[in-house]
């Protein structure tokens, strides 16, 4: 790890949700959506966070953005614990952490024009107070995301999915953020458009020195865009490493299964490739398995995996895995 202070540091983050359904409206149980997650994001890098639905990747992103209040643990932005900030300080920090959502359609107000959508945060946060200058800034932002000035007068429904995602990106950029949490930013888009948006995100990162937390389930896309990758399963990080190490020499059996499950667009390769098909399904986070949470589906589990909770440990320099057999 470099001596430089990371932009963001997550320490032992936990987020539990109480679920109802018990008799007399009591609590039926606690869902451990995020269960003791720690990682850092370095300035200017892209950290990919992958896993299947319900693994806690989105909740982790939402805790960082303070859209969820963590149950415990600390989130440090530039070394300052978000929980210790007063409202005004928090507002200032939040401005610098923006989000791009999966579905640009449901995250854009259908009654506002594109210009109004992008101008609103500029006015609310008094980034550009002069309305005339605001129009110029909106046009500039549209240009950054590959849209034309005339798009400012359109409504979201008049745009294609890819164009709407560009508007979502422009709105995030308007705040001049340092960190952008990209939550499945391309998974709702057509294949031919996904590459356009990924290239755009990479260009913007270079141009504005942005740092990304890239939350996604598509392992091929995550490999392309990330510098380092964390794999989550049932609320925990099971593996964390540099992109190359994680994809070339995965240490955790879950990572290996995930990589093997991704179909490759080449019939000849697919015909001779060996597929690790995991049995069973992801267990309920209401009642996670004992020991290693992956053991019921793990092809190499031994007796001890049922009893021992594996620590995320540094198996090789910079390559962490939570498996006693790694």
């Amino acid at each position: 790890m470099t001596a430089e202070r990371p932009l963001l540091e997550i320490r032992n983050l936990t987020k539990h949700f109480r679920v109802g359904g018990g008799l007399f409206g009591g609590t039926a149980g606690v869902v451990r959506a995020v269960d003791g997650v720690s990682f850092v994001i370095r300035r200017g890098e892209t950290l990919g966070l992958v896993g299947e639905s319900g693994c806690g990747k989105t909740t982790t992103g939402r805790c960082i953005l303070r859209l969820e209040r963590p149950t415990s643990g600390a989130i440090l932005f530039e070394g300052r614990d978000l929980a210790t900030l007063n409202d005004e300080e928090l507002r200032a920090v939040r401005r610098r952490m923006q989000v791009i959502f999966q579905d640009p359609y449901s995250s854009l107000n259908p009654r506002m024009t594109v210009g109004q959508i992008i101008a609103e945060p500029l006015a609310v946060h008094r980034i550009v107070s002069d309305p005339a200058k605001r129009g110029a800034r909106v046009r500039e932002l549209l240009g950054h995301v590959g849209l034309l000035p005339q798009h400012a007068r359109r409504y979201p429904h008049q745009l294609s999915g890819g164009q709407r995602q560009r508007v979502g990106i422009a709105r995030a950029l308007a705040m001049e953020p340092t960190l952008i949490v990209c939550d499945e930013p391309v998974s709702a888009l057509d294949v031919s458009i996904q590459a356009q948006i990924i290239n755009l995100l990479e260009d913007l990162q270079r141009e504005f020195g942005l740092t990304y937390l890239f939350v996604a389930h598509d392992l091929s896309v995550v490999r392309h865009i990330s510098d380092r990758v964390a794999v989550m399963y049932l609320g925990k990080i099971v593996e964390l490493a540099d992109r190359k190490a994680l994809y070339d020499e995965p240490l955790h059996p879950y990572t290996r299964a995930l990589l093997s499950a991704v179909p490759i667009p080449d019939p000849e390769l697919e015909a001779r490739r060996e597929h690790i098909v995991l049995g069973g399904e992801v267990p309920s986070p209401l009642n996670p398995p004992s020991g290693c949470v992956f053991h019921p589906r793990c092809p190499i589990a031994i007796d001890r995996c049922r009893a021992v909770i594996p620590e995320l440990r540094e198996v090789k320099p910079g390559h962490w895995a939570a498996c006693i057999l790694a």
Partner: protein, 332 residues
């Protein structure tokens, strides 16, 4: 083996506020017995509407099939009476949808949803139907079938519901299953399970399958032949091996190049298909892909290319520049 299903010049239109949209524009394709064929394309290309047209499930009055024939086992389905069509739909041709939760009835037990078709189509007694339903659950890998039959869809996970959909599709021993994005809503590890199951069943039971998907990896893993659709038309067709190794339509080539691949070294930059998907209410005279095409020549804007042979195994492409494309560097 002969053609089980032959779709000829099928044309399906929808009346919208923006004008008449020709969602499927005179397409022809076929599925042979026991074969798995893919319809690949992006949203709005007409792949789902093609399948719904085969089943005569296009929602009227906005949508209607305006031309073409759908010949199944020698009979044109479009000429059948509603009653005759009902005997084919759900029995000889069945469907699997992307979202199992919206296609299953939430207030009927799993057992009832399986036995209903068996009692109606095959005139089974309730007892026999129940026995067959339990067998079907076992076939699709749902353990403890007796207990599961009494449960309701909400008690099943996403993967289990999709297995249940497959069981329903298999119930009456169909000869053709139309699977519309059957694994898109599922996680990768569950997707892998369902794909293995479908592949195994099609082999074991000899049932033909039409798989509709946008996922080129899924197609590569288990289709024999592939039809690539763009803007309501088939732009390229071939055996999966031939089409992936030697794509001869710029759209197919673009799709294959735009996705990052785990088996290849990471590229510094992706090669997207530039531009936006086509507006089907404003269709020009030329090739619908021309405005986004890196290979387009002047003729492409004026004249629409038809499918012409470009390679072995029935490989066809609808591109004026298909020959030039054959000399373009392959995908890697």
């Amino acid at each position: 083996m002969g053609a089980l299903l032959e779709v000829e010049s099928l044309t399906t239109e929808f009346v919208t506020r923006g004008g008449v949209v020709r969602a499927v524009d005179g397409v022809s394709w076929d599925v042979k017995e026991g074969e798995t064929v893919a319809l690949v394309g992006e949203s709005g290309c007409g792949k789902s509407v093609s399948a719904l047209s085969v089943m005569r499930l296009v929602a009227g009055p906005e949508g209607r099939i305006v031309a073409g024939r759908v010949v199944f086992k020698g009979r044109d389905l479009l000429a059948l009476s509603d009653e005759e069509m009902r005997r084919i739909r759900g029995r000889e041709i069945t469907m699997i949808f992307q979202e199992p939760m919206t296609s299953l009835n939430p207030v009927l037990s799993i057992g009832r949803q399986l036995t209903e078709g068996l009692e109606i189509h095959l005139a089974m007694t309730p007892r026999a139907a129940r026995r067959r339903a339990a067998e079907l659950l076992t076939t699709v890998g749902i353990p403890d079938p007796e207990r599961r039959l009494a449960q309701y869809p909400h008690q099943f996970s996403g993967g289990m519901r999709q297995r249940m959909m497959i069981a329903m599709a298999l119930a009456c021993d169909p000869s053709l299953i139309l699977a519309d994005e059957p694994t898109t809503a599922l996680d990768v590890t569950i997707q892998a399970q369902i794909l293995e199951l479908m592949k195994d069943l099609s082999r074991r039971l000899g049932v033909a399958m039409l798989i509709i998907t946008h996922n080129l990896g899924v197609v590569a893993r288990y289709a024999d032949r592939v039809n690539v659709m763009y803007a309501g038309r088939i732009v390229e067709r071939g055996t999966a091996r031939e089409l992936y190794a030697n794509p001869r339509h710029p759209y197919t080539l673009g799709l294959l190049r735009s996705v990052p691949r785990l088996d290849e070294p990471r590229r510094a930059r992706l090669d997207p298909i530039e531009g936006q998907p086509p507006d089907l209410t404003r269709r020009g005279a030329g090739c619908a892909f021309a405005p986004r095409c890196a290979f387009s020549v002047e003729r492409c804007a004026r004249e629409r290319p038809g499918l012409v042979p470009v390679g072995a195994g029935g490989h066809v492409s609808a591109c004026w520049e298909a020959t030039r494309l054959g000399r373009a560097p392959a995908m890697r």
